[in-house]
Amino acid sequence: MTALDAGVPKRIGPAARILRWNWVGGASGWVWLFIVMLPIYWIVITSFKTQANYFVTNTFAPPSEPTLENYRTAIENDFVRYFANSVVVSVGAVVPAVVISFMAAYAIVRGARNRWLRAINSLFLTGLAIPLQAVIIPVYLIIIRLQMYDTLMAIILPSIAFAIPLSVLVLSNFIRDVPRELFESMRMDGATEWLTMWRLAFPLTRPALVTVTIYNALAIWNGFLLPLVLTQSPDQRTMPLALWTFQGQFGVNVPAIAASVTLTTIPIILLYAVGRRQLLSGLTAGFGK
């Protein structure tokens, strides 16, 4: 780990080389792993404890008699409905958001000389910097005027709008890398722009489409402010909001809260298992160096 290795000439990456010795980094790596995993471990084991068990055993000890009781409590408290609401909101917002962002990105790249499209593009870039909190009151007003308050649609529409800027940025950067000859040959064959977009650009952009889909789905699935402000009745609740109300409702029943937290997280963990690479590249898409 130390000076001994330093003299060994091995062909490895530069970072790897300065890091072999780096015990500060190494130690902090393991400490950070502990810090990250402890709450996650705790929430999962607690979700399998009986309430009585939770109060008497060590909080980090695994459950002595594992139970699914807490999951039943969560599900009996309308959890399935909240889950379904979250699915409706996420799918209902992500699919249109990605489709219209893709169309806009295609137009922006293909019509780069058009001043309208250039203006639209810089408008979207500005949009990256608009924080949701700053516009929540006018959005609330608009939703009331549209008579959509307390519906899932109220959450879906602003979610689409706030997904657009980053999606257009990522997708247009990707479409720009499609070789121009391919567009030319489509044109020679007499294909319309509409056809070229779906037949050529769409399949070639798939990796970026997956990235923005996953990224937006995650952001919307976890969204809290829009549901909090734009809905009211329990049957329009999405999961993050439901968790928050569970917390008040279950009070000291920590295992039941733990079970609902675990349940809301399962779909995301599954998504992570399937598409970790796309997800992480999506998270840094707008900002990487």
Binding site: A6, P14, A15, I18, N22, G25, S28, G29, V36, P39, M103, Y106, A107, I108, G111, A112, R113, N114, W116, L117, I120, F124, G127, L128, A129, I130, P131, L132, Q133, A134, V135, I137, P138, V139, L141, I142, L157, A161, F162, I164, P165, R176, D177, E193, L218, F224, L225, L228, W244, V254, A258, V261, I268, L271, R276, L283, A285, F287, G288, K289
Partner: protein
């Protein structure tokens, strides 16, 4: 990210035909434009407009000039919220930056076990702020939480009931949630440092620590600026986390601008003053982003294009 090269260079190479083509395909951008205008840009201007009105969420909105601004600016809650916001901003930057750089550099090495660790590191990025806050709230219970669990009585504190401790907890939870994101950025940056720099310095006899400070840190300078900008501007918009974890308490110890705005608008039904706070929130964000850009010495190059 390789796919995000600066767009400007390629635009110039486009054939003139694209100007004409542009006209025929402008409509393709319209659905996105309409949605973005309706629920993004118009509301942003709407916040400014509403700040000159009085609206209690029930009766009609009335234009009242500077009344709401006077009310908002004379409220002692505003300077307090600004103070708390800046306190959280600075402390969370101080906490996150060194940890993120360390972990980013650590992860940049292409070693398998670190790849495995990385899988776990990034899990906090996936969880909702609500879930994270609820977990920590339960875990920090003074009687049944972390202190008794680890057998360390010093951890048996009323974490969220004491003003100073509550801020500390908040900084910790913020770091827990966002360090993975920033270490991801640093990991990418460190991997792009040219091999030759390290080789040359090795020949010159530079030690490892020296290499870190003389090569790695200067080379990731712009990344530090980018990451800091995201941290600083992002901290203005912490809402879910604080709302669920402390609800601004104890008392008003953690009531930031965003919470103050929510409180004013949706709890006290003072939409006018709340809109003033929203405008202040945007202004603070823009000013900070500009300052940090100057600091980076990138002149007029936009943060977004630099992405």
């Amino acid at each position: 990210m390789t796919m995000l090269a600066p767009p400007a260079a390629r635009v110039t190479a486009l054939p003139a035909a694209s100007r004409e083509r542009g006209r025929s395909i402008v409509w393709m951008a319209l659905p996105a434009l309409v949605m973005f205008l309706a629920f993004g840009l118009v509301p942003l201007l709407g916040a400014l407009a509403l700040s000159f009105t009085t609206w209690d969420n029930i009766s009609p909105i009335r234009y009242t000039g500077l009344t709401s601004w006077k009310a908002a600016l004379s409220d002692p809650g505003l300077p307090h919220a600004l103070g708390v916001t800046f306190e959280i901003m600075i402390l969370s930057w101080l906490a996150q930056t060194p940890i993120s750089i360390l972990i980013g550099v650590f992860l940049a090495a292409r070693k398998r076990y670190r790849g495995v660790l990385a899988v776990f590191y990034f899990v906090p990025l996936l969880l909702s702020s609500a879930a994270i806050s609820i977990t920590f709230k339960a875990l920090l219970d003074p009687n049944f939480g972390i202190g008794s669990g680890l057998g360390i009585s010093a951890l048996n504190q009323d974490w969220l009931g004491d003003s100073t401790l509550a801020i500390g907890v908040l900084i910790f939870v913020v770091s827990w949630q966002f360090v993975p994101f920033h270490s991801l950025i640093y990991q990418n940056a460190v991997r792009q440092i040219p091999d030759a720099l390290y080789e040359a310095s090795q020949i010159d006899g530079a030690g490892r620590v020296r290499q870190f400070f003389s090569i790695t840190l200067p080379q990731i300078k712009y990344t530090i600026i980018t990451s800091s900008t995201l941290m600083v501007v992002g901290s203005l918009t912490f809402f879910d986390l604080i709302f669920v974890l402390t609800a601004g308490g104890p008392g008003d110890a953690t009531r930031t601008l965003a919470l103050e705005m929510y409180q004013k608008g949706f709890m006290a039904n003072l939409m006018g003053p709340a809109s003033c706070i929203a405008v202040i929130l945007v202004l603070v964000g823009v000013v900070l982003a500009q300052l940090l850009r100057r600091l980076g010495g990138r002149g007029d190059e936009s943060q977004m294009e630099g992405a």
